[in-house]
């Protein structure tokens, strides 16, 4: 079988991404058609930078979603005799009806680079946004009272946050994400603490809102508590009686460490903004009306801080992606077979000066995703400043 030329490779890859192009086209057509009715999200489509960023991010999001149909070969299986095959080379023994070429070559144990890169997006996009979300819940739940109440609480929490921020990230990862640590109670107790915050956050949010309407309050808080604690028992302790919620111990360890590293940053931003906003007149008006402290924090201050928080959220997903890559690069946490981008770069770097393509594909993928997120954040910042 003939090898493919670069032009054919690009054509074939573009063809494989067909579902992504379709989904991307549909998203853009719908969003632009209704952009005046979509608030901040709609305004994003007024800024070219934001649109490019959003397109890149959604490209990877759809790639992760449709990864099963995009991949050409099984990302984990090895094809004998094709070690370090160059991009476009043909398979030695293609299976009946299977794909016949390595689009982006094969790596040092003859696995398909293209399929691993596509599958890697799924690993990254499964962890990074979720971990960032958790970090935000922790940062907001602690940052609001620290900024609003101040005093000893603020001093204590700020000291803890600075403590974590002063830790070199890599040292912390090396201490927390090792097979030895997995055997101790540390990941579980970390998870038990950190995963409690989303439940606390939602309960406080709903309780302060519907405090005056006990019927509704009991219903909403009850639903949150039942679902939240159910998920909590499964995710943190792996003790879900129904077995719906569970997390692989490897993944849990990585997830918890990434959340832990990210939350102090969020805490500092939220605290700073609350200290600024709490001097406004509408907060004083709320206090005069006799509104509760949590109501003011969650329903008066937080919505007014949303602009910078959304921007930071985008940037922080990018940062989390970089952190996950760092973990993979040092071979920490994830299983050695895993196709995530960081570990693939780590696999490829040993032979880098002889064969570059196995490391280059995931490196460019990671870079483009983070770039997309940064551009998106930039566009959002620009548009949110316009109001």
């Amino acid at each position: 079988m003939e090898s493919l030329s670069w032009l054919q490779i690009i054509g074939a890859m573009a063809g494989r991404f067909l579902p992504v192009w379709l989904a991307l086209g549909a998203t853009f057509a719908l969003s632009i058609a209704f952009k005046r009715r979509l608030g901040l999200y709609g305004k994003l489509f007024d800024s070219p930078v934001g649109m490019i960023g959003f397109a890149i991010v959604m490209f990877w999001a759809f790639t992760a979603l449709f990864a099963d149909t995009i991949i050409t070969l099984d990302p984990l299986s090895q094809f004998s005799g094709s070690k370090n095959a160059v991009p476009g080379s043909a398979l030695k023994a293609p299976s009946e009806g299977g794909y016949t070429h390595f689009l982006l070559g094969a790596d040092h144990v003859a696995r398909d680079v293209f399929s691993r890169m596509v599958m890697g997006s799924r690993v990254v996009l499964k962890i990074a946004p979720a971990a960032t979300m958790f970090a935000f819940m922790v940062g907001i739940t602690l940052g609001l009272p620290a900024g609003y109440i101040g005093g000893k609480l603020d001093t204590g929490l700020s000291f803890l946050a600075n403590l974590v921020l002063a830790f070199p990230v890599i040292l912390l990862f090396y201490l927390l994400v090792t097979p030895e640590i997995k055997a101790t109670y540390i990941p579980t107790s970390f998870a038990a603490t950190l995963f409690l915050f989303p439940v606390i956050f939602l309960v406080l949010l709903l309780n302060s809102r519907f405090f005056t309407n006990p019927m509704k309050r009991n219903l909403y808080v009850g639903i949150v508590l039942v679902i939240g604690l159910w998920a909590y028992s499964g995710l943190a302790f792996n003790a879900d009686p129904l077995g719906v919620w569970s997390m692989d111990p490897n993944l849990l360890n990585v997830f918890v460490s990434v959340v832990f590293v990210n939350s102090p940053g969020v805490f500092r931003i939220v605290r700073g903004m609350v200290m600024d906003i709490k001097t406004r007149d509408y907060v004083a008006a709320g206090q005069t009306r006799g509104e509760g402290a949590w109501y003011i924090m969650l329903w008066e201050i937080l919505p007014n801080a949303r602009g910078p928080l959304i921007v930071d959220f985008c940037l922080r997903i990018g940062y989390t992606t970089i952190l996950l890559g760092t973990l993979g690069f040092f071979g920490l946490g994830v299983s050695p077979e895993s196709p995530d981008w960081g570990s693939t770069i780590d696999d490829g770097r040993k032979l880098l000066s002889i064969v570059a393509h196995p490391a280059l594909a995931p490196a460019l993928a990671l870079m483009s995703l983070v770039l997309g997120l940064n551009l998106l954040a930039d566009g959002l910042r620009e548009e949110s400043l316009k109001d």
Partner: protein, 361 residues
């Protein structure tokens, strides 16, 4: 001012103690000690032997007391084995137990023994740090001027074409972590099969196979442009974007200030306004950012030294961490934490000095 510095130093000391205790605690967890026992004595040890080894080497006492011993505020442990041999924290192997000091810790200047390198921790660390200081120095020399020039140029005329191009470059560089840019640089400039090296070799422009060297191992003996440029570029690139964006933000803010407009209306040339009026005020914020960039540089150093096989501080840290070399890892964290805290302090004090609007007390 003095009170402020004393207070900050107090908080710093507390932070350093807390951080080293956390590292001490995590490295001394039972599974880590078991791993250490197996790597030190023999891999095929029975569980009882492991417990015995841990006991005989003083790891079975309470964590807090051992931390105190490591700090040098508690006397080191001494233990007489069944065989009659006297072992202790401060007793070097084969020396006379009676002559050994009773305290030996950080305060006394004894940082312990590295189990991986079989050398005193201070020796390993000072070697690594001297290597890394060259790297850091080169990175700073490249990163700071480039970033400041880029930031000032793009912030000078907000919204101009220069601004657009430079801002896009800055965003791109912050999106490229070291392990990505390192891989791309090596593939472009230091690969015998890809990038520009094969072409240059074909034309006969370079004598070797590659333009730059893919490893920096030879830079440990003699630093040349060809073996050191790629690691330095890799670390610098990530920082450049961030500092440039901060400089740009502060420059655009200054350029819209009243006194700049006044100067322009008086007829001072644009060049003069930028150089004489705007620059100094615009550089206050980036100064803090550059100082706070140090901790992140530390990360970059670890990644780049691993990628380019340059045996400095970052490489030592990775070796210590992967082999659970407790004393060396503690030494590394003391250095790392000190770097972070001292730069924070300098950035705070420097900010006060640079900005006449801030008055303490």
């Amino acid at each position: 001012m003095l009170k402020f510095i004393v207070r900050r130093l107090g908080v710093m000391l507390l932070t350093a103690l807390a951080l080293t205790f956390i590292v001490f605690y995590l490295t001394n967890l039972p599974p880590n000690l078991e791993k250490l026992a197996k790597s030190e004595a023999s891999v095929r040890m029975s569980d009882e032997d492991v417990i015995k080894w841990i006991d005989n080497n003083g790891y079975s006492t309470s964590m807090v007391s051992r931390y105190g011993q490591w700090l040098g505020v508690l006397p080191g442990w001494v233990k007489t084995l069944e065989s009659g041999e006297v072992r202790g924290r401060c007793i070097a192997k084969g020396s006379d137990p009676a002559a050994a000091p009773s305290y030996c810790g950080l305060v006394q200047g004894s940082w312990g023994q590295s189990t991986v390198f079989k050398k005193p921790v201070t020796e390993v660390l000072s070697r690594g740090l001297s290597m890394t200081s060259w790297l850091m120095l080169s990175v700073m020399l490249v990163m700071v001027p480039v970033a400041l020039i880029l930031g000032v140029l793009s912030g000078m005329r907000e919204g101009s074409a220069t601004d657009r191009v430079l801002s896009t470059f800055a965003i791109g560089s912050t999106a490229t972590p070291e392990y990505v840019s390192g891989v791309i640089f090596v593939a472009l400039f230091a690969s015998a099969t890809a990038g520009i090296s094969p072409i240059l070799a074909d034309w006969g422009w370079i004598s070797g196979k590659t333009l730059f060297m893919g490893t920096a191992t030879s830079a440990m003996d003699k630093i040349t442009f060809w073996n050191f440029a790629l690691p330095v570029m890799t670390i610098a690139l990530y920082g450049i974007g961030y500092i440039a964006r901060m400089t740009r933000a502060s420059m655009t803010e200054v350029m819209t200030a009243q006194y700049i407009r006044t100067a322009r209306l008086k007829g001072v040339s644009f060049r003069q306004v930028v150089m004489k009026h705007a620059l100094r005020n615009a550089l206050i914020a980036p100064f803090t950012v550059i100082m706070l960039q140090f901790p992140w540089l530390l990360n970059g150093v670890v990644i780049v030294e691993t990628l380019f096989n340059y045996k400095g501080f970052g490489w030592t840290l990775v070796q210590a961490a992967t082999n659970n070399d407790i004393e060396l890892l503690l030494g590394c964290s003391v250095v790392a934490v000190l770097v972070v805290l001292v730069t924070q302090l300098i950035s705070d004090i420097g900010y006060v000095f640079l900005n006449p609007r801030i008055r303490l007390s």
